[in-house]
Symmetry: C2
Subunit: 217 residues, 2 copies
Amino acid sequence: MNILVVGANGQIGKHLVKLIQENGDQARAFIRKQEQADYFKDLGAEVTVANLEDEVDTIAEAAEGVDAVVFTAGSGGSTGKDKTLMIDLDGAVKTIQAAEKANVKRFVMISSFDTSREAIQSAPESFAPYVVAKHYADEWLIDTDLDYTIIHPGLLTNEPGTNQVNLGADVERGEVPREDIAKVIYTSLKNDTTIGKSFRAVGGETPIEEAVQSVNS
Amino acid sequence: MNILVVGANGQIGKHLVKLIQENGDQARAFIRKQEQADYFKDLGAEVTVANLEDEVDTIAEAAEGVDAVVFTAGSGGSTGKDKTLMIDLDGAVKTIQAAEKANVKRFVMISSFDTSREAIQSAPESFAPYVVAKHYADEWLIDTDLDYTIIHPGLLTNEPGTNQVNLGADVERGEVPREDIAKVIYTSLKNDTTIGKSFRAVGGETPIEEAVQSVNS
C-alpha cells in the first residue's frame, strides 16, 4: 500500500510514516521544506516538497499513484487565525480535491475531538474559529464520494504509545498519545470496515487492532 | 413581501431597508445592538436584535414568517481573521440553515467580487482568508435547495446611486455605489428569474431593473 501523508512533519505524521515503513508499506511524506526530508528518507519513505497553499493541481501531483491520502496537517497553535482558514479549512479541502483529481479513493482525515455545530457554539472564543475550520473540512469530505474515515482524537500527548484505546462516536474526552493515533490511522487504512465512519479516539483499554475492527460511528 | 435583512446596520443594509420600506414592502432589520434600532424603527421596519454567533435556532426565530432572507453582514476590515471565520463563513452558513429551519425558500447572498478557487490562489496573503470564507459560504448555499441569488459586487463606494450597472458572470472589476447594490438586491427579490444565479455587479450603463431582468450567470 502506498500512502501519501499530508502533514508528515507533524508529530503524528512522523510516527505514521515510521509505522508504514516498518510494516512493509510505502509512505510518501508531503513536507513543506527540503530540510525536513532526511528523517523520511532515512526511513525509506518517498518525499514530496509542496505547500498546502499551492494550487490543487500541485497537491494532486503529489498524490499521483498512491492508494490512500492521510490529512494530518494543522496550522499549529502559534499561527494566526488566517492560517486556520488557509490550512485547516482550505488546505484540507484542496487535499480532498487533489485526491479526487488523482483518482485516489481512500482518504483519512485527522479532525478535532468535537467538530459539531454544538461544539462551535460552546467553544471558548479563541478556539471556536479552529473548530469552525475543522467542521467545514469534515463536512466537505463527508459530502464527497471518497472512501473516507474521519478520526477525532482526544487531547494529544507525547507519551509513548500504549496500543490501547477507546474508539467510538460517543466516547468521553480524554488524553491519547500521538503514537497511538498514528497506529489508529494505519490500522484504519488496513480495515475497510472504517470506510464512511467518523469516530473519536482516546486512551483506553482495547487493543488498537480490535478497537478499529469493531468501531461504531 | 416581508424581508429579513441580516447585517442591516451595514451601509448596504441601511440603504436596502430604506428601499424596502419606501416601496411598500416590509423589512425586518437583524441588528446586533438595541441602540442601532432607531434608524430602522423610524422607517417603519421591524427590528430583531440578535447575533450571528448565536445558535441557528435563535437566527431561525428572527427569520420566522418572512418571505426572503438577505445576507449582507460582514466582519468588517478592522476585525481579526477569527471573525472572518465566525461571521463571513459560519455566520453565513448558520443564516442559510436558519432560513431552511424557518421554511424561508428565498435567499440573497451578498458575496465578494470573485470567490473562485483561482481568486483564493491569486489573492494577497492578507485578503485570501476572507476570500476563502466567502468561497465556502457561497458553495454551501449553492448546495442547498434554497431559491438563492448570489451577488458579487465590485469595489463598493459611498457615492450616491446612479441606478445604472453592469451585471453578469464575467463583467470586469469596477466600482459600484452601495446604494446601487441595495437596489440590485431589492430588484433581484422582485424578479424570480434571478433564482439560481450568481452574478457580478459593477457600475455601468444599464438601468438596474433592465439589467436584473436580463442577467446571465
